[in-house]
Amino acid sequence: MDLRETPEEAAFRAEARAWLAANVPTEPLPSFDTAEGFALHREWEAKLYEAGWSAVSWPVEYGGRGLDYLLWLIFEEEYWRSGAPGRVSQNGIFLLGPTIIEVGTEEQKARFLPAMASSKEVWAQAWSEPDAGSDMASIRSKGTLSDDGTEWILNGQKIWASRAVWADWCFGIFRTDPESSRHKGLTFILVPLDTPGVTVRPIAQLDGDTGFAEIFFDDVHVPVENTLGGVGRGWNVAMATAGFERGVSLRSPARFNVAVERLIELWVAIGDPDDDTMRDAVTDLWMQAEGYRLHTYMTVTKLLEGGTVGSESSLNKIFWSEMDLRAHELALQLLGPEAERMDGPFESWVDGFLFSLSGPIYAGTNEVQRNIIADRVLNLPRA
């Protein structure tokens, strides 16, 4: 055990910090859930890519730097500390990208990864359906092979597709064996959103922005080459993606450490120094964020030493989502009357509060995560 940074790590941190200090927009960009904000975030992603920062843990040939996850964590720390924009590319770079790297063909890697890293193509995810939310295995959207066997013909409906309103592509699973049920007979398919027969209907989120959408598939033809990981293996491929999402990549600790640092600044600025209850609560949040950071460093060391991360990644998802929500609840409590105002100097806390409410729901509700922990980590009997 050595918790000091190596000279290599320190040098990398300094390099990232210097580039970010010189390049991060001085004014925050508008939300990427708006048309203008989405375009500006895409420009920012291109700039990140040009400088080699968009996907540092990816192999060099696909637009990354081939760095290990420890250095990736350091980059993330510097990224969020610098106040850089949120990652409009996240569904691609942090979810689909690692899955393509793991199970994709060489052609797929060459075709999709560089354009994903540069955000020339931004990806939306298309998991849920109106009747397949927490119960994702009840998916009904269909994929049927064309008579000549060269195309999938897709029909059905996906919902809660983040980023779909302005994205270029989506990825999701479709039932390709009509005789199948539950986890079998599903295939992971990549779909350009401008294909004829695709209709995207925006849904306004709690904050009023159209951050997610419904996607309707009406005889949508896509080449069978867009199959990721083999016909009928969609559930396993999706679980690899979802596991990674919950585990390490989707929410690196740095953003929570930064949120808690901001909470501490807020407490110092406007908190009542005699309010010990609030002081204890803020301290608890600091310990949680720090605990999550340490937990992630321990997980990443394990991965680097040849270990694997399994269902215990569900612990992370519950932990960060509830911590984030708690931090924002406390901030609003500190803000008092200002917490009601959406356009004032504390807008980012109110916006952040609304966003934090989605954390316990997306990427698998926390109730589903608790079931996974109970079944696969604690080995309790299945219901």
Binding site: M1, D2, L3, R4, E5, T6, E9, L70, I264, W267, V268, P273, R279, D280, V282, T283, D284, W286, M287, Q288, E290, G291, Y292, L294, H295, Y297, M298, V300, T301, K302, E305, E312, L315, I318, F319, E367, Q369, R370, N371, I373, A374, D375, V377, L378, N379, L380, P381, R382, A383
Partner: protein, 326 residues
């Protein structure tokens, strides 16, 4: 940055765990409690022989010369088995405070267990079985040899702690030891011991939830039980890295040592509280009996949670470090 243990450290801990699982069963622990001895001299000798007690004793004194990172997993294993007697006090405080003195060999060979009353404890644990007691006077650490104990019997919640009051804590031998370092060592070792206890309580509750059937199925298949246990596991598992990190901070005497130790003790205490409460609830009425082994582990946790500073005390110390003193 490398946040993991060496193969040697992991294997030593695994060996200790094997030995305790084989030789120190819950039935034997129960016997220690019911005998009123609050100590198991045969087990103590076994721990001395394995080098567990002397991990942090310098090699010059015949110990293994390890640091807190080498020790932390061992204490966790002792907690998993709820080993009675002054293990935390001897392994962490005795080893550090008595290094280079004539008393160090007695730590190594197990002949003189050490206990401590550095925070002015009203009820001193283990004083009946430990002839050496560390006390503090005016910020200095002193050693009392077989101090006179009150005749009054003090029944503690944990049958492995043997509480006494000391009639006179003056006249000890001054030691060249750092009081703040020793109290941090006590808090940190207690945190690791609590982590082991928490894991054990959840394991016991898991076994019961798989075995006990109601409404025609094992109770562990009910979502209410699953979520209760998942929440407890969450709290315990996120205390783990904080405890290991504090061991590193202690071993390397970093400027954040006090903050990190306090974070470890606060989180370990909260985790153990939650694990005990959840494990009891999973058991239902049987968990509320003297006969159920769970009580041996819960009561040890309830005794250690306030020891070496409560969660609240340590949370305030973290607050001072992070938010500024007030």
């Amino acid at each position: 940055m490398q946040f993991s243990f060496t193969t040697d450290q992991l294997e030593f801990a695994a060996g200790l765990r094997d030995m305790l699982e084989r030789e120190f069963t819950a039935a034997r622990l129960r016997h220690v409690w019911e005998s009123g001895d609050a100590h198991d001299p045969a087990l103590w000798s076994r721990l001395a022989e394995m080098g567990v007690l002397s991990m942090m004793v310098p090699e010059a004194d015949g110990g293994l010369g390890g640091n807190f990172v080498d020790t932390i997993l061992l204490v966790e294993e002792l907690g998993r088995a709820a080993v009675p007697g002054p293990v935390v006090e001897t392994m962490a405080l005795g080893a550090l405070a008595l290094s280079g003195t004539k008393w160090a060999p007695g730590v190594v060979d197990g002949s003189t267990p050490v206990t401590a009353a550095l925070l002015g404890e009203r009820y001193v644990p283990h004083a009946a079985v430990a002839p050496l007691v560390l006390v503090a006077h005016g910020g200095n650490v002193e050693l009392l040899e077989s101090p006179i104990r009150s005749d009054e019997t003090i029944g503690g919640i944990d049958g492995g702690r043997g509480l006494s009051t000391l009639m006179d804590i003056t006249g000890g031998t001054a030691l060249d030891a750092d009081l703040a370092g020793l109290t941090d060592a006590g808090a940190l070792a207690s945190a690791a011991y609590l982590l082991g206890l928490s894991s054990r309580m959840l394991a016991i509750a898991g076994d019961y939830a798989r075995d006990r059937r109601q409404f025609g199925q094992p109770i562990g298949a009910f979502q209410a039980v699953k979520h209760l246990m998942a929440d407890a596991l969450l709290k315990v598992e996120f205390s783990r890295p904080a405890i290991y990190r504090a061991a590193w901070s202690f071993a390397n005497d970093t400027p954040d040592r006090g903050r990190d130790v306090s974070m470890a003790k606060a989180l370990a205490s909260d985790g153990a509280q939650k694990a005990a409460r959840s494990a009891l609830q999973v058991h239902g009425a049987i968990g509320y009996t003297w006969e159920c082994d769970l009580q041996l582990f819960m009561k040890k946790a309830w005794a250690l949670i306030p020891a070496w500073g409560s969660a609240q005390h340590h949370r305030r110390r973290v607050a001072d470090a992070v938010l500024g003193r007030r």
